[in-house]
Point group: C2
Chain length 217, copies 2
DNA sequence: TTATGATTGTGAAAAATAGAACAAACATTG
DNA sequence: CAATGTTTGTTCTATTTTTCACAATCATAA
């Protein structure tokens, strides 16, 4: 897989690193809420289940954040990572497919805590259009392009059936969406400049099932 | 991250490979249903959005499946991959946390099509216990160990809030679960022999938000 | 049958990722 | 203040993953 990379100064950082940074931020916020003010890479790494070297290495792509001999100021590091990841200003996203999974994501409380907010939801099913989920009215899928463009949304989440996913993704892209989180069990082929992240629950479980089978022998 | 590996004959195969194999199988089934009998690595790779070499290389860990100069018999390859991944016999799993996301997964129709079946669901919330979701009655979380052990379940899916995830995972492990799919936004630290796959929707979107921010500059 | 074109499977090279090792910087203690 | 212990940031090394290159095999057509 040719993993997408992003320019940072002169270095290129893989999205695996970015995801880890996001999980660091997640746990740092917990520490912050618990009143912890300073943390070392060692103790945080233990909390995260990774090596302390990986933590420091990941941070090093974006500069020095700690104090040698001391550790990291939780507040400061949280703020820096928040800024780095663009998690400071509330990130809105559009969701296509207000079925079971889509509805669950709309109502997913953690997202709000992480400053991520569903701004519009769409469905082509007449029975779902107009339905109010957690205060958000499901709109007609035919209005997706207009709304996404008007609201200036950049992230799309796809929860439609596999056979509809490709077309939905293309329409999102044409409306200005440049990053897509795809839950549909199918690959999405789209312009290089649009980033697609796939989460296929079936694939995840099937991979685990292989692992289970191996352990049995 | 030290990615888990599994022994195959004398070779070790990463779980990334296994996940890709699962996605190959997914698309092969679609081809099979569409009446395609033979496919080349090139055309399938195009469908999957990867390189044809990666497809062949991934297969090569488990032996030769194709015919040189011709390609792959869709039926045969589907069967072999199904056997390889253990996707032949129905894989049952236990789910903890019958909230919005948990319920959505219980009702996720694709899972059934992939021979993956929810066998038991648990929650500690009195209001959810006894609730019937898609024919399955949500059981009391305190009975989890007993049920999981009795039914011989090996895969657990965690959809509980972050602060409960660690404990739930440990209890699952103690009951014989050896592979966990964790949707809770937290890391799970557990015995090495239990494989944990994390899907943190917040992290996924936050990583995309970084990508969006980069594209803007 | 023989030449040609297509496609697989794989060893070797390249790229990317993770890990080890250590100097530099800081705090603390005597 | 000096010595000691801690922790970061980074260079260098090892490992893993991906990609390249090409021989081997098969079908087809002349």
């Amino acid at each position: 897989m040719t993993s997408r990379r992003v320019l940072t100064g002169s270095k290129q950082v893989s999205l695996e690193v970015i995801k880890r940074l996001s999980s660091y931020l997640r746990d740092l916020k917990t520490l912050e809420n618990n009143g912890v003010t300073v943390v070392s890479s060692g103790s945080l790494a233990e909390l995260l289940g990774i090596s302390s070297v990986q933590f420091r290495k990941d941070l090093s792509y974006f500069g020095p954040f700690g104090k040698k001999g001391v550790g990291y100021n939780v507040c400061t590091l949280t703020a820096k990572l928040t800024e780095l990841l663009g998690a400071g200003d509330c990130m809105g996203f559009a969701l296509a497919g207000a079925g079971k999974l889509g509805s669950a994501i709309i109502q997913y409380s953690s997202l709000q805590r992480f400053n991520i907010k569903i701004m519009a939801a769409f469905d082509s099913d007449r029975r779902k259009i107009g339905k109010k989920i957690d205060g958000l009215v499901v709109a007609d899928a035919k209005d997706m392009e207009t709304t996404v463009r008007t609201m200036g949304l950049k992230i799309g989440v796809i929860c439609v059936p596999a056979k509809a996913a490709q077309q939905v993704a293309e329409r999102m892209a044409s409306a200005g969406i440049i990053a897509v989180l795809n839950f549909a069990p199918t690959e999405i082929k789209i312009l290089k400049k649009v980033h697609v992240s796939n989460v296929d629950i079936c694939v995840e479980i099937e991979a685990l099932s292989y692992f289970v089978r191996q352990s049995a022998t």
